[in-house]
């Protein structure tokens, strides 16, 4: 009897679970794989049939060549800078005893919960044609922030928190006893850092670098605002080909080109580096204060952390001021008229955005936990494809997904363009991977016999998941929900292809306002968006947190 048949028969003992597996696999094929394949197909489509004509343009046209080069260059530099800053902040906040850790942590990660191009707006306020610093303070008239450095600056601001969070976990996982041991056998502070702490964290550094690289390649908002016409980049160029010149094959080609470095980086990160992480998990609680830096070094690092914190505060301060003054650069009279505009003209957009986020978050969160449960605890044919497909979207740039969705769902049998459903579906499948990853990590810590006990006592697969697994992985469920909601509220790169007159999103509105030079309204939209996200995170926290606390205080 073949293995697949046996596994299938085992699964069929639990009809509801079997149905869910089939449903999830089908959904992943339709809403994840199919659109990406269509993009690839489209990129080979020429006027006469199939061919490499579109890709030939990449060699022939300077515009496309530059777009590729610029995107790669920006992504590499941004990843390097973000990792350095992220490492410093993570090291200071997780391994040294400095004041205000909590506050600085929250400040550092603030850019994660705001639209991914808030930094770009702040940079325009500060360094743009009417920028406070460039125009008013320095009196520069022919300075242009648009181009390489503008994009790098705003992306560093946007993605450093991601590097920080990832490195924080790595550094916190290094057992301080190792440092004690190194010193005990005669290593100096510098040697402890160079020979112990740094090598142990190196896989984490590489991983953070690649994650930021992927994010930067896929970023759409910052380049669209700050790249300018003279500095083409892949993601916005693909968008312009499709919405500006209505040339789907060329847009698809650029998207496909964008896909290659992203997927490569993802593959390296997931299948090579993550297997080399040194995790030193011991049951003993350890006071994790490092000895690798002396007092002078510690305060120097702290100064750096404070500086980054101040930049974040300044950027948001500028947005707040920009949102509540008449005309940036000319007339700083306090006014609420930008906010009035948001709540008047933009009210439908606000409602749509919240509706899309509220509709997609629970589905995404639950599906994430369910897939994690299936992948970790069940054996069935198609398990590896399910795991692969469900996290694939983490690496696929939103631009590719967006183009894929308009290609896939603009024709029968599934016509979804212009509907609420296409936005919700897009968000559900795009933001499920983080929930899955968290769920898998937590589930691997839980003794499988707890779930076996439930089954043994008469619970079927779905009941086991609902009554036992889900409560136990509530913390992962919670973080998955928060992530899905925040991303749904702040996403732009795929969504910009999918919005319509009926269903529009705030992020798209912000970009439009920036495009038409109404920075005040854009700033007001950003502030409202940020407020909604913070309130929602608080609400999810209290709703799920209570159960999470109950489940996580009980330990085996």
């Amino acid at each position: 009897m073949s293995r697949a048949v046996r596994e299938l028969r085992l699964l069929a003992r639990d009809p509801i679970l079997f149905g869910l597996v089939v449903l999830i696999l089908a959904a992943l094929l339709v809403f994840v794989l199919y659109p990406i394949l269509l993009v690839l197909w489209q990129s080979f489509t020429t006027g006469t049939g199939l061919g490499l004509d579109n890709y030939q343009l990449l060699a022939e046209r300077r515009l496309y060549r530059n777009a590729l080069r610029n995107s790669l260059g920006v992504a590499t530099l941004v990843a390097a800078i973000s990792v350095v800053i992220g490492y410093l902040v993570a090291f200071s906040l997780s391994r040294t005893d400095v004041p205000l850790k909590r506050v600085l942590h929250n400040t550092t990660i603030l850019p994660i919960v705001s639209p991914p191009f808030s930094g770009a707006i702040s940079i325009l306020f500060l360094f743009g044609f009417n920028g406070v610093i460039t125009r008013q303070l320095l009196g520069l008239r022919d300075f242009s922030i648009y181009g390489f450095w503008g994009v790098v600056a705003s992306q560093v601001f946007t993605f450093t928190p991601i590097a920080y969070l990832s490195l924080r976990g790595v550094l916190a996982g290094i057992n301080p006893t190792l440092e004690d041991a190194a010193m005990n056998v005669g290593a100096s502070r510098g040697q402890v850092f160079r020979r112990v702490v740094l090598p142990l964290s190196l896989p984490g550094v590489a991983s953070a670098f690649l994650v930021v690289f992927i994010e930067s390649m896929a970023d759409f908002g910052n380049p669209l605002v700050l790249a300018g016409a003279a500095f083409p980049m892949l993601a916005p160029q693909a968008y312009l080909e499709i919405t500006g010149s209505f040339n789907l094959p060329r847009g698809a080609m650029l998207a496909a080109v964008l896909l290659v470095p992203s997927l490569t980086a993802f593959a390296i990160q997931r299948y090579y580096i993550n297997k080399r992480q040194y995790v030193t998990v011991t049951g003993k609680p350890t006071a994790s204060t490092t000895k690798a830096v002396g007092p002078a070094g510690k305060w120097l690092l702290y100064a750096g952390v404070l500086l980054f914190g101040l930049v974040v505060v300044a950027f948001y301060g500028v947005i707040l001021i920009g949102a509540s003054t008449a005309v940036w650069g000319f007339d700083y009279t306090p006014t609420l008229r930008h906010f009035v505009y948001v709540f008047d003209v933009g009210w439908d957009t606000v409602k749509d955005t919240v509706l899309v986020a509220v509709a997609s978050t629970p589905v995404s969160g639950l599906m994430g936990m369910l897939i994690a449960f299936l992948v970790v605890r069940r054996v069935f044919p198609g398990k590896r494809p399910m795991e692969f497909l469900s996290i694939l979207n983490f690496a696929v740039p939103g631009t590719v997904v967006g183009i894929g969705y308009i290609l896939a769902f603009n024709r029968p049998p599934l016509i979804l363009t212009g509907t609420l459903a296409i936005l919700v579906l897009n968000f559900v499948f795009r933001y499920v991977p983080v929930g899955i990853q968290n769920g898998i990590a937590v589930l691997r810590q839980i003794d499988p016999s707890i779930e076996e006990a439930a089954q043994n006592l008469g619970a079927d697969g779905v009941t086991t998941f609902r009554k036992v697994t889900l409560p136990l992985i509530a913390p992962a469920f919670f973080s998955g929900l928060v992530f899905a909601f925040v991303r749904a509220m702040t996403a732009i790169s795929a969504a910009i292809f999918l919005v319509s007159a009926n269903w529009n999103l705030m992020t798209v509105q912000i970009l439009n306002q920036v495009g038409s030079g109404r920075l005040g309204v854009a700033a007001a939209f950003s502030i409202v968006l940020l407020a909604i996200v913070l309130v929602a995170v608080g609400i999810i926290g209290t709703l799920v947190g209570r159960r999470a606390a109950a489940a996580s205080t009980v330990r085996f």
Partner: protein
């Protein structure tokens, strides 16, 4: 007594590592268990006993063979559709539910009426000595109490078969003995057919009506504890269950055997031929040491260990064989010293069947 649990040519293979040949964990095992009996599966780690138990519970799919509860074939049923209840090695208590809800879990799955749930849970908690602990969280319980919750959660269901997967291995020695007694008493009072996996031979002896010794995926001997101890069917069983001396002797007549020049008694009904050389088993506590010459075989004390309630000696015979002897209350007639000459005699010797 009617047979209540029957395994027919039950087999389990696991795929080998790196495409190697399949590993046979359980090799065509046949076993019939009578209603109301307590059976232990005893064996070294990796002998297949846990895999066998997990197949009965439904967590492992048999590669071949059949499992019957009474007349009902169950090996194709999902774990939740079988009428078993299992006490796990790690207890597997639901950490997010309190004691009451843990015990009530199975009843709720069966949609038992709320009033009845309360009555049955209360009764079982009383039975295991946890009345008053209903609203405690599992983290507030000691190891022994968690163990009782796991037990209560199973017996409240009045299952067809009760399964135990080394449930006492996480407890300290004192508590282990106490729980062993409690489990046995409960099982006898409820009369529920039980299968108990352990690698601790003392536990197996103390608990069961029938001990099934397993090795390398097969049953080597299945017998009541006293039979198993007195008449092991192989060197493996004799060695695994308690301590054993292995001696070689020549059969003089159906009741007598010559060991190192001493005429010793054979255990009764031993199917041996006169003149044959046989391998003999004798337990250390059945070995007698004497100072007076003439009784038994001559030997020299090589090692002495005083353990309070008994003393352990190793005595080398003239043949070179070393015999282990345990003597209770050693202070009574004075300990033997290392190098002292002693005469070794034994109780009835059990001959092992010739090795194939």
């Amino acid at each position: 007594m009617p047979v209540d649990l029957r395994l027919v040519r039950l087999r389990k293979e696991f795929p080998g590592h790196d495409g190697g040949p399949n590993v046979v964990a359980v090799n065509d095992v046949d076993l019939a268990i009578e209603k109301g009996t307590m059976v232990t599966l005893l064996g070294p780690s990796g002998c297949g006993k846990t895999t066998l138990l997990r197949m009965i519970a439904g967590f492992e799919e048999p590669t071949g063979g059949e499992i019957y509860f009474g007349d009902k074939r169950v090996d194709r049923l999902a774990p939740n559709a079988r009428d078993t209840a299992m006490v796990f090695q790690s207890y597997a208590i639901f950490p997010h539910l309190d004691v009451f809800e843990n015990v009530a879990f199975g009843l709720r799955m069966k949609r038992v009426a709320e009033k009845s749930v309360r009555e049955r849970v209360d009764r079982v908690l009383e039975l295991v000595g946890l009345a008053g602990f209903e609203r405690r969280a599992p983290s507030q319980l000691s190891g022994g109490q968690q163990q009782r919750v796991a037990l209560a959660r199973c017996i409240v269901l009045e299952p067809h078969v009760l399964l135990f997967d080394e449930p006492l291995s996480n407890l300290d020695a004192k508590l282990r003995e106490q729980m062993r007694v409690e489990i046995r008493e409960l099982q006898q009072r409820l009369g529920v057919t039980s299968v108990y996996v352990t690698h601790d031979q003392a536990e197996a002896m103390a608990l069961s009506d029938l001990v099934v010794v397993m090795n390398a995926g097969t049953i080597v001997q299945a017998a009541p504890p006293q039979d198993l101890y007195a008449r092991p069917s192989s060197r493996f069983v004799a060695d695994f269950v308690g301590k054993a001396n292995f001696l070689t002797g020549a059969v003089l007549d159906p009741n007598t055997v010559d060991v190192a020049g001493a005429r010793l008694r054979l255990s009764s009904a031993a199917p041996v031929g006169v003149g044959e050389t046989v391998e003999l088993v004798v337990r250390p506590e059945a070995v007698l040491l004497e100072r007076e010459a003439g009784k038994g075989a001559k030997g020299v004390v090589e090692r002495v260990a005083f353990l309070g309630n008994h003393a352990e000696y190793a005595v080398r015979l003239a043949t070179g064989d070393v015999v282990e002897a345990h003597e209770t209350n050693p202070a009574e007639r004075g300990m033997f010293g290392v190098g002292e000459e002693v005469w070794v005699s034994t109780g009835p010797l059990h001959p092992l069947p010739p090795r194939r």
